[in-house]
Structure formats: C-alpha cells, structure tokens
C-alpha cells in the first residue's frame, strides 16, 4: 500500500521556482498512477497566495511566516517530519537546488525515509516506484530501488517538464499554524547580483564559453561572434571561477537560467549544473572536441571539432 505524495514548494523572492512545477508535474503523474493524493507545502510570508497557483496538487498546506521565506533546513525538516508522521507520506519531493540544500538529508535523518539525490526520473513499474539518478557529473545513470518503497527524493532541476505541473485550478488550501522553533541560522539579507553588466537572461543570442576556451584571451573571439550575431557572451562555472568573465554571465545552477533563441556553446562539456540553466533554449548548437561530451545530449546540433578551427572561419563568413 503506497502512501500519499508531498511536494516541498520552492520559491525565491515571491516567485515560484520552475522546479516546483517540475515536481508538481511528475508528482501528479505518480499520484494518478499509484492512485494516491498529491499534497504540497509552502513556507514563507506569502505562503497562501503562492499556494493558490499550485492547482496540480490535491491539497496545499501553507505556513505563513516570514521567517520561513528562506527555510532553515532544521526548522523545515522538523515541520516536514511531523507532517510525514501525521499523513504517512511515502514520497516527499524536494528541489535539488541551492535553496533547498540540506533539508532532504536532515529530514531523512529525522524520519525513517531514505534520501535519494540527483534524481532524474521516477516511474512506477509493477506497482513499485523506481528512480533513476545521475552520478559523477552526469557521466553515469543509476536505477535505484528503495527499501520500503518510499523516500525523500531530491529532483535534479530540468529533469521534468514544468508545463505538466501548471494548472489554472485553485487547490484547497490548509493553513498550518505551528509555532516555529528558533533557528540558529539567521538570514540577514539578500545580496543582489551586480547590476550594470549585460543581462544575459534578456538576450536572443548567447555565445557560451566553457573550459575549452583555454584562456581569457580567447574570449575576445567569442565576443566577436556574439557581436556579429547580435547577442552576448555567457559562460559555465569554470570560466567564471577563473575570473575571465563576471559572475553575471554565469549560466547554470548558481547562475542564470536562460532561454535565448540561439544558444551557441563553445567548448562547454555540459555538466548537469550547466545544462539545467540552458536546456530550454530555442536552438542549441554545441562545439566540443569530445564526442562523448554530455552537451551533445542537450544540443540540437553538435559539431565535434576544435572550436578554434570552426569559429574564425565562421566569423569571417558571417562578416561578409
């Protein structure tokens, strides 16, 4: 007998994160397959209004408390734990994001449910729920079975379509009124990204550079191509960490999520942390010397070559 499913809603600064809809989408499907209810829970001062957008769920719990805008893993896992005890949830879905980091393991430690990380797929086979996780930076996939057929699942962003989780319905909302324990980890303030630089989320064309660009000098080549195509240059984490481009140009988990018409990726291997930020782009063109680079499983068109062989002649041709 499978218990109901709970989804921890994620939102940042009043905006519902994509991952929430991804989880609602897959959660809805699983709930229908298993014939169990789908619940979700929202923390934060606008909990109730956010809850009203989550029509895919059968019931939404809202805990209106500004302290929980950025949920402390300790406090959040305690609330979730008591909810699991009350409602006997078998599956709890949590976003595999920076915002939610730590909640899953803590909840697993406090409850009896195991935790599964990097989950890319969940499906029901012969009445049993199965999971697929990616490991080693996306180089390996593992099918996983769980003792007791339930668990706390961290969903890798970008694994499921978010559209499936969107619904115009107004879900029933239950306000939770639980006195909050005091958290030792105190949120002080947001630090906004530095303004003044190009906003890569608003570009139609992005030329993205990764490790394969070799050194900072070569970024000029990408800049030239981007200028000709009327766009801007962005990058994956290694390039940002080297200080070759500002933080505002980072695409991926800690950086921006972008959806340009054209995403032209140069020497980006395509680690999952990067692809989650660009996989929904209109046309993805990727150049990489490694035919096995994971970027080719996200790109629409791939070129297995040295970018230095391709880009200069292409740029020349585009100029004329």
């Amino acid at each position: 007998m499978h218990g109901p499913i709970l989804i921890l809603v994620e939102h940042l600064k009043g905006e519902i994160a994509d991952i929430t809809y991804e989880m609602l989408g897959i959660g809805r499907k699983l709930a229908d397959d298993l014939k169990v209810p789908l619940h979700s829970i929202v923390f934060g001062k606008d909990g109730e209004s956010i809850a009203s957008h989550l029509g895919s769920a059968d019931l939404v719990f809202a805990l209106n408390n500004p302290q929980m805008d950025i949920p402390s893993p300790d406090v959040a896992s305690n609330i979730l734990k008591s909810l699991i005890e009350q409602k006997a949830y078998s599956l709890v879905l949590i976003g595999g994001t920076n915002v939610s980091t730590g909640i899953g393991p803590k909840l697993s430690f406090r409850s009896s449910l195991p935790f599964i990380n990097f989950c890319k797929n969940i499906f029901v086979k012969d009445g049993i729920v199965c999971f697929t996780s990616q490991l080693f930076g996306g180089k390996i996939l593992s099918d996983i079975s769980v003792r007791g057929n339930g668990g706390i699942i961290s969903i890798y962003p970008g694994s499921f379509p978010s559209s499936a989780g969107k619904s115009d319905k107004k879900p029933p909302i239950e306000i939770l009124d639980i006195p909050l324990e005091e958290t030792k980890v105190v949120f002080k303030q947001y630090i906004e990204p530095e303004a003044g630089d190009v906003d890569i989320t608003k570009q139609d064309v992005l030329v993205s550079v990764g490790r394969g660009i070799s050194n900072a000098d070569n970024i000029a080549m990408a800049e030239e191509l981007a200028t000709i195509l009327g766009g801007a240059v962005c990058a994956s984490r290694p390039v940002i960490d080297q200080g070759w481009l500002p933080l505002s140009r980072q695409v991926g988990k800690s950086g921006m999520t972008v959806k340009p018409k054209l995403y032209f990726s140069l020497g980006v291997s395509g680690a999952p942390e990067h692809t989650e930020g660009m996989k929904d782009s209109g046309l993805i063109l990727a150049i990489n010397t490694d035919p096995n680079a994971p970027i080719f499983s996200v790109a629409h068109y791939g070129i297995c070559a040295d970018l230095f062989d391709i880009i200069p002649p292409l740029t020349e041709k585009l100029k004329t």
């Binding site: 980091t101 730590g102 393991p105 996306g138 593992s142 099918d143 079975s145 990204p193 800690s254 070559a305």
Partner: protein, 262 residues
C-alpha cells in the same frame, strides 16, 4: 579558531568511467580518484580563515587511493595537522561517512569546542544519499548551512557570517553560531598552488596521523539496481565536414531561425 576540514576523494571524471561486470558499480580497475572539487575550495577557505583570524586547520580524510598525496599537499598549503581514517570505504554513503566523521570527535581528544568550525565541500559528484554536511550536523547537533562562498568571523569570535549562493546570481547573507558545520561551494579565491618540491619535502618529514575508527553499522537504505552510461550525442544532430562546410551549415541554421537575414 579550530577549523576542521573533511576531504573526500571521488572518481576522476576526466578518465573514462566504465561499469563493472555486475552492472551495479563502477569498474574500479581503471578508476582514478581525485579530491572532490568543492572540498578543495573548503580547504582553501579554511586556510584563508586561518590567515585572517588565526587558529589551526586540521584536515581529516578517509583512506582512498591517492589520498596521502592530497593530505600532504594540504599540509604544504598551510594546514597544521593531517589525519587519515584507515579502512576500505568504497561503498560507504553520506550517512555512514557522517557517522564516521562524527566519531572522529568522540574517539580522539579533538573535541568539538565553542570555536570549532567544520568545513566540507557542499556536495560531491557521488553523493547519492545526500550531502555529508547536513547529516554530520544532525549527529553533532550543530547548526548547518550549505552552498557557501564566503565566511567571516564576528568580533567576539562566537559567530560566523556566511554568504550563500541561491540562483541567478542572487546570494544571501546568514549568521550562525559556532560550533557549526558548513558546506562550501567555492572559496573567495581559487585554491592556491603549492609547488611540488614543497609537497615532496613535506612527504619526507611530516607524518599523517592515523585515527582508527570502527566502521559504523549502517544498513544501506537504497540499492543500485543497474548502472549505465547515458547515451550521449543521442539528441544532437552532428554537423560534419571541413570547417568551411560546417560554417555554411551553421549559417543555414541561423537563417532558419531568423538570427541572420538573407
């Protein structure tokens, strides 16, 4: 400040990974281990903190191939003490690692004090059962926060101020009291370089402290049924030919989606 850094070795993904005959684990024959990237940053952050506020840096790692070199390198970079927990830890997962590391504090005279800061990489590429840091904080009963890119100590040296990354370049500032367990995403600057000769001379003179800890008895909660290499290149249509020809094909595509006219 008493800074403890836990380092973990993970498979090097530069090398081709292959699956063992059982289909359930990696083939260890060709596996090469390297230090988990965020762990390298957590060591760097620890050294930066030591330089800023004084104190000691203790580096603890579980036995793994090539871990000795990593430990000696940490010492050469400026750590004060290096500790290895011997054993075969191939199949241990995050909850077990957390127990093991917690036992380090209970089974040695290195006690968790009011000035202890425990740093770990925020995440590892093989953290299938979740990150070690939150588990460890559960066992130690300390506050925890992850995905941190900067730490500073307050004037009374009782609290730390940390910067956490969210998404889209947005970051947040938090404060938490010591002792604490923190998951590091990146340090304020890239890990420092330490010349090979320095590491080598330290290898000759320094000793790794061996701390024996009885393996925790944790039954695995999840099991891997099948491991496989994802089909890559499955999606992309590959453009081939000499650069000239590829250029023309690219330009055609750009025309199709209206990025360039004509």
């Amino acid at each position: 400040m008493d800074i403890v850094v836990f380092l973990k070795m993970v498979p090097d993904v530069i090398e081709e990974l292959s699956i063992a005959d059982t289909g359930k684990s990696l083939d260890t024959q060709f596996l090469r281990m390297k230090l988990n990237d965020p762990d390298d940053y957590s060591l760097e952050e620890a050294l930066i903190l030591k330089e800023k506020y004084g104190g000691t840096v203790t580096v603890v790692a579980m036995e793994a191939s090539e871990v000795d070199e990593v430990l000696y390198t940490a010492l050469a970079k400026g750590a004060d003490r290096i500790v290895k927990i011997p054993g075969d830890w191939t199949n241990i997962q995050a909850p077990g690692i957390a127990k093991l590391l917690a036992s380090y504090f209970s089974s040695t005279n290195h006690q968790l004090g009011t000035d202890t800061l425990v740093l770990l990489g925020s995440q590892a590429i093989d953290d299938l059962e979740g990150e070690v840091a939150p588990y460890l904080s559960e066992i130690l009963g300390t506050p925890y926060i992850g995905v941190i890119t900067g730490i500073s100590l307050d004037a009374e040296k009782k609290k730390v101020n940390v910067i956490k990354e969210f998404a889209g370049g947005l970051r947040g500032e938090f404060e938490l009291p010591l002792p604490a367990v923190i998951g590091i995403q990146a340090a304020e600057k890239p890990p420092r370089y330490v010349p090979v000769a320095k590491v080598r001379s330290i290898m000759k003179t320094a000793k790794i402290d061996i701390v024996d800890i009885i393996p925790p008895d944790i039954a695995p909660a999840i099991s891997i049924e099948k491991m496989f290499i994802p089909e890559v290149g499955g999606k992309a249509k590959m453009l081939e030919g000499p650069p000239e020809q590829i250029s023309s094909q690219v330009i055609e595509l750009l025309k199709e989606i209206g990025i360039i006219r004509r």
